[in-house]
Structures are given as structure tokens and as C-alpha cells.
């Protein structure tokens, strides 16, 4: 006889993911849940109650009164705003033939209604008639400006590609990427610390992670946050596995040591990130918050019994 699935987190998460009145339960990924629903009447009853509860919450979710006059305020702001970017770009150079402008901007023209272009009347104004030679100069000037823009953009791209990656990712993105990387990482290929070549001096292990009580291996990793770095794989005495990735990446707002609780715990992975000098350390522990805390206890004191 099968044991009750109501304690199985995977089944419960699947249960919660089914929208009320939807066909979500027919999704192939929901097959284990669908099977259990047929076997366990108490699970089926729970599912039904959850569907009804979700229906009520969804309705309540939308029950927000809208302040009076909001539409007028938003429209006023929109009218005062600069012209839409696509319209600025779609203004043909003076003297350009209408045929060229029409064909080049067909995609965006259909979306820019006349009224939507209201905030940029000056750009739509008719220009006074110009002599043919002035139009020629203006056309060449336009081409020159376009060429200069392309060159400037290429230089900027080249500078960007050769500079350290800017702080574009949020801490949460880093943690999620770390989990995804960890899930696909070959963690048994490293060199044991103290045997063979030493890890590179530029990517040292954090002093916050003592290695006295556990086996640690190091290895190069490529592509972690689009960078090359070093991974240290831990096997704690109580059997908990963890990896800390060390990369050089400027990130702001991080602590200088690992927190006592994970910053993100999801899908049986608990993670945290901190920064020491120019190095960012991202720790991924196999398990949930409890394993994360035990990992640090075991690093400090040996196995927790």
C-alpha cells in the first residue's frame, strides 16, 4: 500500500500550482499528482478545497478600489513626457523620399497612431521648402551622422566587452543562476586540497569556510555568471555536500561574510552570497535551510549528532 502523499513536498507543490478551473492537472508534469489524486480520497478532497479557496482569493485579489482622477493624472503625465522613442527614430531625414521612409518604417508605423504622436508636434511639423543643393548637403550630413553613430556604438560595445562585467544582475539573480549552475555542475572532478596543485592564489577559499573537518576539492569553472572562476566542493562530515563558487565580479550591497540563514532556499538548494575584497563567494548547499545551518555547524565543530 502506498504511503500518504500529503507529506510529500513535491506533490504538495504540484497541488498548489494548479489554477482553479484550469486544465493544469492534465499537464504531463502533474502526472504524479493526478495519479495520487485517484488513489487518495483525502488528497482529492484537499485539492477540491484548495481550488475553491484559490478561486475566492483570486477574486479578492482583484478587489482593489481605484482612486478617483487617476486616469486624468496619468494622461497629463503622458502628455508632458518626451516623444516616444520609436517616433523620434522614425522621423525621416528632411529631403528623403517618402517612398524610402514608408518602406523603412512599415513595422512601427502601424503601431504609432496619430494621437499617440501628439507629444512630439515639432518633429512632425512641415519643414519649409529647401533648395535642392541644401537638401543634398542635409542628406549627406544625415548619412555622416548615422555613420558616426554606428562607429561610436561599435566602440562602446568593444569597450563594454573588454571591461569587467558591470553590476547588472541582482543578488537574487546571482543566487538563482548559482542554483542552476550547481544542478548541472560536475562536482567530483576537482583536486583535493593539500594534494596536487594548489588552488590559484587569486581565488582563495574564504576564511569563513574552515576546511579542518571536511574533504574539499577545488577546480576551475567556466561560464559561471559568464566568468571563469574557481569552485570548492565540500563534503561535510555529516554527509552534506556544498560548493562555493569564487569569481571576480563587482556586485554592490553584499555582506562581507556568509549569513547564518540562506538568502534563498528553493528546490532542495540553499544559497547565500557575500563579498570579500574583489571576490564574490556564492555558496550552494544541497538541502534546505536546516542543511545550510548544519553545514556551518559541521564546518566549525565536526559532525552534528
Amino acid at each position: 500500500m502506498e504511503s500518504s502523499p500529503i507529506r510529500d513536498p513535491r506533490i504538495l507543490e504540484a497541488l498548489e500550482a494548479c489554477r482553479p478551473g484550469s486544465e493544469d492537472i492534465r499537464d504531463p508534469a502533474m502526472e504524479p499528482l493526478a495519479r495520487q489524486l485517484g488513489v487518495f480520497p483525502e488528497l482529492a478532497a484537499l485539492y477540491e478545497r484548495l481550488q475553491q479557496t484559490d478561486r475566492a482569493i483570486a477574486e479578492a485579489f482583484r478587489g482593489v478600489p481605484v482612486p478617483a482622477g487617476l486616469a486624468a493624472r496619468v494622461l497629463t503625465q503622458m502628455a508632458a513626457a518626451p516623444a516616444p522613442l520609436d517616433q523620434l527614430l522614425s522621423v525621416p531625414p528632411p529631403g528623403a523620399s517618402p517612398g524610402i521612409a514608408d518602406s523603412g518604417q512599415a513595422g512601427t508605423e502601424s503601431l504609432a497612431s496619430p494621437s499617440a504622436s501628439a507629444p512630439s508636434p515639432t518633429l512632425r511639423e512641415d519643414t519649409p521648402p529647401m533648395r535642392a543643393d541644401r537638401r543634398g548637403w542635409r542628406r549627406r550630413g544625415w548619412l555622416f551622422a548615422s555613420g558616426a553613430l554606428v562607429v561610436a556604438a561599435s566602440v562602446l560595445v568593444a569597450v563594454f566587452l573588454n571591461s569587467p562585467k558591470p553590476d547588472r544582475v541582482s543578488t537574487e539573480e546571482v543566487l538563482n543562476k548559482a542554483i542552476a549552475f550547481f544542478n548541472n555542475d560536475a562536482r567530483d572532478s576537482g583536486t583535493p586540497l593539500g594534494f596536487g596543485p594548489a588552488p590559484p592564489a587569486g581565488y582563495p577559499l574564504s576564511p569563513a569556510l574552515p576546511t579542518r573537518t571536511c574533504q574539499v576539492r577545488w577546480r576551475w569553472v567556466d561560464g559561471f555568471l559568464d566568468l571563469r572562476g574557481v569552485a570548492y566542493d565540500f563534503k561535510a562530515p555529516g554527509g552534506i555536500s556544498a560548493t562555493v563558487y569564487v569569481v571576480k565580479r563587482p556586485l554592490s550591497g553584499l555582506g562581507s561574510s556568509p549569513p547564518g540563514v540562506p538568502m534563498l532556499a528553493t528546490g532542495m538548494r540553499a544559497t547565500a552570497v557575500w563579498q570579500e575584497g574583489d571576490l564574490v563567494y556564492i555558496l550552494v548547499v544541497e538541502g534546505e535551510s536546516r542543511e545550510y545551518e548544519r553545514f556551518f555547524q559541521e564546518l566549525a565543530t565536526g559532525p552534528v549528532t
Binding site: 513536498p9 500550482a17 479557496t53 475566492a56 482569493i57 479578492a60 516616444p84 503601431l111 494621437s115 538563482n176
Partner: protein, 182 residues
């Protein structure tokens, strides 16, 4: 292709989508002033980048994605809230499912406000946008497991805050025991 130009008329855009955008913004931010600011931001962005809207039928979905992006950017300025204290909890599913009108709007908002930003977005996409877990994962570029985990925990938290008192009262426990934490 539904590139209906009239859908991009500012007045029509606002008339058709303002209420939904504001309601969504309010649920995410938890304050009328912040929701109004966010709504303004969304419509200004829409006005500026209307060339990105290729299919007028999906304008609302596009506006919602702008809204989520603006909200997430404001969340990223803060340190992430540890996720450890949000537990999976189906015991909060009430024995007697409620009607929408039985749900205290103020308590619902308080419960949402207690969630970390990323959990708030996921639960709002589920309840407000009626997105499936797959659509949420796709739109937020997150692993499906992460979405399911966040969704389950966030929903459990909302129910605990909304219904725990009723459940305990039904069970003969004093109502004050069930008052929300923190």
C-alpha cells in the same frame, strides 16, 4: 496579427488598462501612493516604448510585464529577505472554503506585504494574471521548481494569515493565538 493601431492611443490605452494596472501595482506595492507612482511609470514606459508592442491583443500582458520589471527593480535595491521562514503549509487550507467577500481585503494586503518581492510577484501572477506555473517560469526566466516552490510557500503564507484565526476559532482555540506574526 492584431496590430490594431487604435489600441495605442494614449486615452484608449489608459481607459482600457488603467484599472487593472493600478490594482496589480497596489497588490505588489501595498500602498496607494506607491501603486499610483508605479502605474504612472508603467504608462510612461508604454508611451515611450510603444514600438515594442507588436500585438495589440497582448497589450495588457506587455503592460503587466513592464509593471513587474519596474517593481522588481525597486525590490533589487533592498537586501533579499531570507526565504527560510516561509514554509510549505497545506494545513492552512480552510476546512470550509471561503467566498471572496468573506476575505478581509486589508488582511489580504498585509499578508502580501509580508512576502519577499519575488514571492509577491509569483503569487500575483498566479492570482491576478491567472498565469500557469509554466507561464510564470517562462516570463520570469526561472526554473519551474523554483516557481512551484515559491508559489506553494507564498500561498501557504497568505492562507495562514487570512484563515488561521478562523480555523483555530472553529477548533475552539482563542482567536488571539492565531494573530499574525511580525
Amino acid at each position: 496579427m492584431g496590430d490594431d493601431a487604435s489600441a495605442l492611443d494614449p486615452a484608449q490605452l489608459v481607459a482600457e488598462h488603467l484599472e487593472a494596472v493600478y490594482r496589480y501595482a497596489y497588490r505588489l506595492t501595498g500602498s496607494a501612493a506607491d501603486a499610483e507612482d508605479l502605474t504612472q511609470q508603467v504608462f510612461l514606459t508604454a508611451h515611450q516604448k510603444q514600438g515594442q508592442i507588436r500585438d495589440a491583443d497582448r497589450t495588457r500582458s506587455w503592460l503587466f510585464s513592464v509593471l513587474r520589471h519596474c517593481f522588481s527593480k525597486s525590490c533589487n535595491k533592498r537586501r533579499p529577505t531570507p526565504a527560510a521562514n516561509i514554509q510549505l503549509n497545506v494545513e492552512t487550507i480552510p476546512a470550509r472554503p471561503p467566498n471572496a467577500e468573506d476575505i478581509d481585503q486589508e488582511r489580504l494586503q498585509q499578508a502580501i506585504d509580508q512576502l519577499p518581492g519575488p514571492y509577491r510577484v509569483v503569487v500575483a501572477m498566479f492570482y491576478f494574471e491567472d498565469c500557469s506555473y509554466r507561464q510564470i517560469a517562462e516570463k520570469l526566466d526561472l526554473p519551474i521548481g523554483t516557481v512551484m516552490s515559491r508559489l506553494a510557500r507564498a500561498k501557504g503564507h497568505l492562507r495562514a494569515y487570512l484563515f488561521d484565526a478562523d480555523r483555530r476559532t472553529e477548533a475552539g482555540l482563542p482567536r488571539s493565538v492565531a494573530r499574525p506574526r511580525g
